[in-house]
Symmetry: D2
Subunit: 342 residues, 4 copies
Amino acid sequence: MIKVGIVGGTGYTGVELLRLLAAHPQVALQVITSRADAGTPVNRMFPSLRGYVDIDFTHPDQARLEDCDLVFFATPNGIAMQQTRALLEAGVKVIDLAADFRIKDVAEWGKWYGMEHACPDLVAEAVYGLPEVNREQIRTARLVANPGCYPTAVQLGFIPLLGAGLIDPAHLIADAKSGVSGAGRKAEIPTLFSEASDNFKAYGVPGHRHLPEIRQGLARVHGNPVGLTFVPHLTPMIRGIHATLYGRLNADADLQALFEQRYANEPFVDVMPPGSHPETRSVRGANRCRIAVHRPQGGDTVVVLSVIDNLVKGAAGQAVQNMNLMFGLPETTALENVPLLP
Amino acid sequence: MIKVGIVGGTGYTGVELLRLLAAHPQVALQVITSRADAGTPVNRMFPSLRGYVDIDFTHPDQARLEDCDLVFFATPNGIAMQQTRALLEAGVKVIDLAADFRIKDVAEWGKWYGMEHACPDLVAEAVYGLPEVNREQIRTARLVANPGCYPTAVQLGFIPLLGAGLIDPAHLIADAKSGVSGAGRKAEIPTLFSEASDNFKAYGVPGHRHLPEIRQGLARVHGNPVGLTFVPHLTPMIRGIHATLYGRLNADADLQALFEQRYANEPFVDVMPPGSHPETRSVRGANRCRIAVHRPQGGDTVVVLSVIDNLVKGAAGQAVQNMNLMFGLPETTALENVPLLP
Amino acid sequence: MIKVGIVGGTGYTGVELLRLLAAHPQVALQVITSRADAGTPVNRMFPSLRGYVDIDFTHPDQARLEDCDLVFFATPNGIAMQQTRALLEAGVKVIDLAADFRIKDVAEWGKWYGMEHACPDLVAEAVYGLPEVNREQIRTARLVANPGCYPTAVQLGFIPLLGAGLIDPAHLIADAKSGVSGAGRKAEIPTLFSEASDNFKAYGVPGHRHLPEIRQGLARVHGNPVGLTFVPHLTPMIRGIHATLYGRLNADADLQALFEQRYANEPFVDVMPPGSHPETRSVRGANRCRIAVHRPQGGDTVVVLSVIDNLVKGAAGQAVQNMNLMFGLPETTALENVPLLP
Amino acid sequence: MIKVGIVGGTGYTGVELLRLLAAHPQVALQVITSRADAGTPVNRMFPSLRGYVDIDFTHPDQARLEDCDLVFFATPNGIAMQQTRALLEAGVKVIDLAADFRIKDVAEWGKWYGMEHACPDLVAEAVYGLPEVNREQIRTARLVANPGCYPTAVQLGFIPLLGAGLIDPAHLIADAKSGVSGAGRKAEIPTLFSEASDNFKAYGVPGHRHLPEIRQGLARVHGNPVGLTFVPHLTPMIRGIHATLYGRLNADADLQALFEQRYANEPFVDVMPPGSHPETRSVRGANRCRIAVHRPQGGDTVVVLSVIDNLVKGAAGQAVQNMNLMFGLPETTALENVPLLP
């Protein structure tokens, strides 16, 4: 059994980790920390877990995380980088669901996240946890930077095209729409029901923190920097990201075959039949990305539709997938639940 | 392996059965019928099932249901009663998720459902599939009438009080609120998104078909007829029923203890701590009923709050629970998934 | 022109007052206060008001409210009682949309609101602003206590029955469902979109602050104290209250005629035809209460369905209605907009 | 008073016309037709209109539309073209809210709408009813083709840029998101609440009927054909369209000033301050388009955000605006209601 600890268990990625880990046959949940709610039973805050999770939140100072085999950070940005070195030195593996280890250029990271990085050397060591790109490195990693939700949906949609050199890499457009849970479980007015329901808006058009992460990932595939316009939107649903991606084709190709071949062996990427329009609900609660590729009216613009559940393939599910890889388990363990539809 | 057939697989109870059965280790799904969609892959209609269900819908005339061990009817009312006798005679067990076998008084049934019953003798034989009441009879039944969604939530909430003789049985009130999936996957204007969202209404106040079913179930517990006012409402969510039940206390008692004892051994009924307000999302996607009991200001009115997922404990999940009982499997097989929250 | 000030303009009742007053031909909006947002243009916070409201929020200390003819308090409870005396002495009329002046029994008020009342004499003077009951007193009032949202819907539904002495006054039941805007524009986790959407729950079952207000209003109609069980629920819509009311009939009567006669001259109460099920959206954005009365299966339980928009007839619209009465204007001025459906 | 008739009053554009016309001081509503619901009071189908609209639906054969001054067609495509000639010859003006007269190239129209056009000469005569482009022609028109909802939002966003020749006209991208009411009040499974809520999807990516309409409008502004990729999406809200528009800049310019000058005298186009992200709810129920223009990271891609209420500025409101122009009334008559927020 893998002894698991979770730092910051009161947010949506935290409770989603609990949902998935509760069904994992190889995981023993040791500890979940919360500074504000120490002593509270986890299932009092989340009654959905009654019967599945019976421990209390532990104050970070009492958590004894070094006794775990693996620690997930489901914390705000800037926390994991303070605690990771000590854990690694104690032989504990770490998966950070926040952004602390995602951006290799720590100066760039500092610019977008508004703080100085505490451990640039660990950034260098960390493996970016997108198994469809870095599966082998993840298997042997001590420290995995779990990708952001938008970056997962956008990268998986662009990778086949960029990898094949089929589109103009200087003018990529990613128009992405997220459910409200992507904003986290924080008491803020803009994500109140009465503000966010029956409403649609873009946000962060001048610049969103996921932009450098996506650019870095796409540049790695392309081999050179790429130009990307990324516009995120808030849509009135709880879960789900729909990325609509636009690229200018610079050569002819069988796009459907390209995508199918690229993802032929991927357990969690589903290339849908030609003409499909994937719906976010088709992956609700599941660790899966569904993709369709279109070439409207046979023109020179390719349109890729890519959907994930932002809390699963976009966060906690991908983290469990990474954990499975890091511990030599079948990659799909505890990740085979059927999406909830309707 | 239990060879299973489903008649009428294109509605919400049908797809929900598929979601649950896909994860059932003892079930081999043989056939799903649909007159209108014969030949269509099931997972083209429901892409959430891609990777889990790979068969096509079969025309009812080609279905060879008699080769199954068990057939679920997820059909409109009036279908199962036409086909059940032949199946039973062929040695096939039947679980009807519609209302054909729920009401013992076939004249009463005919009044509410607007047709004459085709097989009153099978109504007499059928076991009402509420395991918390009829577990032992279900184990040996050939034919199970799976309860309605409202009746499940309302009966589980009233049973401890009526069983203990603590409330006036002549003036029960059940104010129930259902998500829209309870209306089924039928193309009708009142359940369009633009009609049903951002809106709340009562319906069927003069009389709803679940009224006689609830009355029958409560009368059985009480030992005599009961008086019930039942008001269903439509609330803008997909899944979930919240029943708010009112009764006049005629004796003093420790209500919390009463409920806890009644359901102490029930795997799927969760009596919450005193003062709780169960939320429908705490059972979303799960075969579970959560109940809280209140006595506001210490007065003589008891208020019971009872929540289920109408498609799971209110339909397909309860049907699988009944199947497990009928085939001697552990009752919770394939029904232990954690609710999806948020 | 009536010079109007609003104290506390950043909540939902504040912005709703602005929406209605912007269209009022006899109102000159002088000042809107906000401690936190002083200096911010109102229409930057609420872009829906661009083109209609062009003033900034003013710090309370600079507000010169005594120059107004009328001040609305759209503040949290406990604010209006601190400032009302000075305004009245300066000749300014006051309408409080909070609860400070609603409960005549100040000890009872203190128990439910957790503070001592600052001016019991003004509570005694204040007129409860339900025009369907107190129209004449409102016309001459200096100080109006605008009713709560639940109390408006519940009282209007019970008044005809209690006034006619037709139901048992000791065992009234009000099962009420509110949209999320009723909780106000406050940054709190339980009213986040991801918590409150696709979910339904009761709250405050042991006791809700609107209970004593409703009891007081019903007692006035009945002539003696009444017994009431009041259970509020949160439903995933922005606006709207649906009250489902239950009473035990103690005499026979033509209930439809009773309701129609009681409200025959009321511009904002619509008794719907027999058999109707009013929907909350049928009053969305409008100062209107729609009511239907049922007697299921001809039994001895009467069921009343009463819907309002909690922000209009349940708050800001009723406040404008009261203002019209206090200033001798036609009661319906600026309140005749058609509900927004769909 | 303008005597007005409405053909096809049971859809969402029909009821929205009624909402707006009920408040119009110069309109006398003469007749509303419905084949299926003839004889039914309009306000029984739409109780929101109780107290405002007191007529019944009339069978088309009894409608005497030729006695009207103006007839609105709120019908499915292909109806207006059958009846318009007779009305025009009787001296009745016509505004078609469907697509019959929008596309000047009748062969192209036939290809997208699947039928042959009945009156190409009237298509030639019809004025495209986008007042921000064709105001003067609308004033004198007998026949106005009211624009589609997507075309309104997309054209208003691109017009300043194309008019100034600032963007590459061959590679425009319009990523548009619509509320579900855009699909109309038709009983269809994909727009059921349980299908469309908590879900997001693209549709019509290979080609949507609004594509040729948008292309035609943009070509007129540009002076030559344009290349456009148009991807519509369905988002779980009732009303609203959010168009996110992308263009490649080919010259430098003060984009904010460009937009502000272009729309300086437009009563219903609101160019928001730099850095804004317009929300669909900021125009809910109002005849208004709000626009913001961005140039992310100062690159060569311009991003325009354009929001409307699809039923108002995208349909019925724009139709009333056109009516006001055609009859010499102030353009804003009956269109000054404040958006409903929250």
